[in-house]
């Protein structure tokens, strides 16, 4: 797997499309235990991201991630803005100056992104947040690289791990965000943030699958 600046921009645009397709679903999930704006807020943010990517001359992938991060921070409006925004900003710093990224770079990006989300949200695994989807996906990526699996298979495993993580959030009580006020009553509901994180990993898998020639 090797993605150039324009490929990564196309991938981020695809993530935006997936968020748009799922905006009502994400908002419904959030309405059950949160404040009910996750899908609409994320969709708003990624729409502006798309406009900015089209109107900005971007030289490298680090710069692209910074643009995406800053835009999400400025436009999303809810907590997911600072969280995903920080993830893209920190992730971009891992590939500063690069015009091409591979699976090892993606692992570095994910590592920094997850650290950024944990720092910003003061969250850990098991808090019923995006971390519960992202961390298992990250572990699957590392394992896949160690086993020297093809990129598409590695991403497929990461996608499955993220989905299992989303399902796990149904079984646990929220410890962060507004859902945490509900405590045990949040059990049975899947976390909207973990779900949007899964959708992003899923979009990455689909994108790489569709763009890999065998």
């Amino acid at each position: 797997m090797s993605l150039k600046v324009r490929d990564v921009a196309a991938l981020i645009e695809k993530i935006g499309d997936v968020i748009e397709e799922n905006k009502e679903f994400l908002t419904e999930l959030d309405a059950a235990i949160g404040d009910g704006d996750h899908g609409l807020n994320m969709n708003k943010g990624f729409k502006v991201v798309k406009d900015k990517m089209n109107s900005t001359n971007i030289k490298d992938i680090g710069e692209l991630f910074k643009l995406v991060g800053l835009t999400l921070i400025a436009t999303v409006g809810g907590a997911s803005g600072p969280l995903y925004g920080t993830a893209f900003m920190k992730g971009g710093m891992a590939v500063a100056g690069k015009t091409e990224v591979d699976m090892n770079d993606f692992i570095k990006i994910m590592d920094e992104a997850i650290k950024g989300i944990k720092m910003r949200g003061k969250a850990e695994a098991g808090d019923k947040t995006m971390i519960d989807a992202l961390e298992p996906a990250f572990n699957a990526l590392k394992e896949g690289v160690l086993k020297e699996l093809p990129a598409v298979d590695i991403l497929k495993n990461a996608r499955e791990a993220a989905l299992n993580g989303v399902n796990y959030t149904k079984e646990i009580a929220a410890r962060k965000g507004r859902a945490s006020y509900l405590g045990e009553r949040s059990i049975g509901h899947q976390d909207a943030g973990a779900t949007s994180s899964f959708l992003m990993i899923d979009a990455i898998y689909e994108f790489v699958k569709d763009n890999t020639k065998c």
Binding site: D35, D37, N41, K44, V48, L70, I73, A74, T75, V76, G77, G78, A79, G81, P82, L83, G85, T86, R120, G121, G177, R178
Partner: protein, 130 residues
């Protein structure tokens, strides 16, 4: 001089709290409002918060008062984006938005010590109205 930033999910609430506070302000406090998400939706905008703090950078201390939820995370994100020289002057105060801002403005007219102003704002949580 003291700087106060009013952060709310609503642009109107932030402006309104600033308006009330200005009634008590005889020039001792530089007050800025940073409410609402981009394009006026309900939410918070860390970039708007950052810019409001920067507008108050002449102040020796800048206190940020927030309403709920993501207002805290949004403000922390804004603070992280500031230049170090400004960032060092900024503090989020764990106080109710309306009462806290008013208490801080009034206290700042009688006391220079920033810790005293902050403590008065925090104590406004316990204010009895009836």
């Amino acid at each position: 001089m003291l700087g106060i930033i009013v952060v709310s999910h609503s642009e109107k609430v932030a402006e309104g709290v600033k308006d009330i506070a200005e009634q008590m302000n005889s020039g001792q406090v530089l007050i800025r409002a940073a409410g609402g998400a981009e394009d006026g939706r309900i939410g918070t905008n860390p970039v708007k918060i950052k810019e409001a703090i920067e507008e108050a950078k002449v102040a020796d201390n800048i206190l940020v008062f927030v309403d709920i939820g993501s207002a805290v995370m949004g403000t922390e994100t804004a603070i992280d984006m500031l230049e170090k020289s400004i960032r060092e002057k900024v503090k989020i105060v764990d106080a109710p938005l309306v009462e806290g801002v008013l208490a801080a403005v009034i206290q700042a007219s009688v006391e220079q010590d920033i810790e005293g102003v902050i403590n008065t704002a925090i104590e406004s949580k316990n204010m009895c109205k009836l």
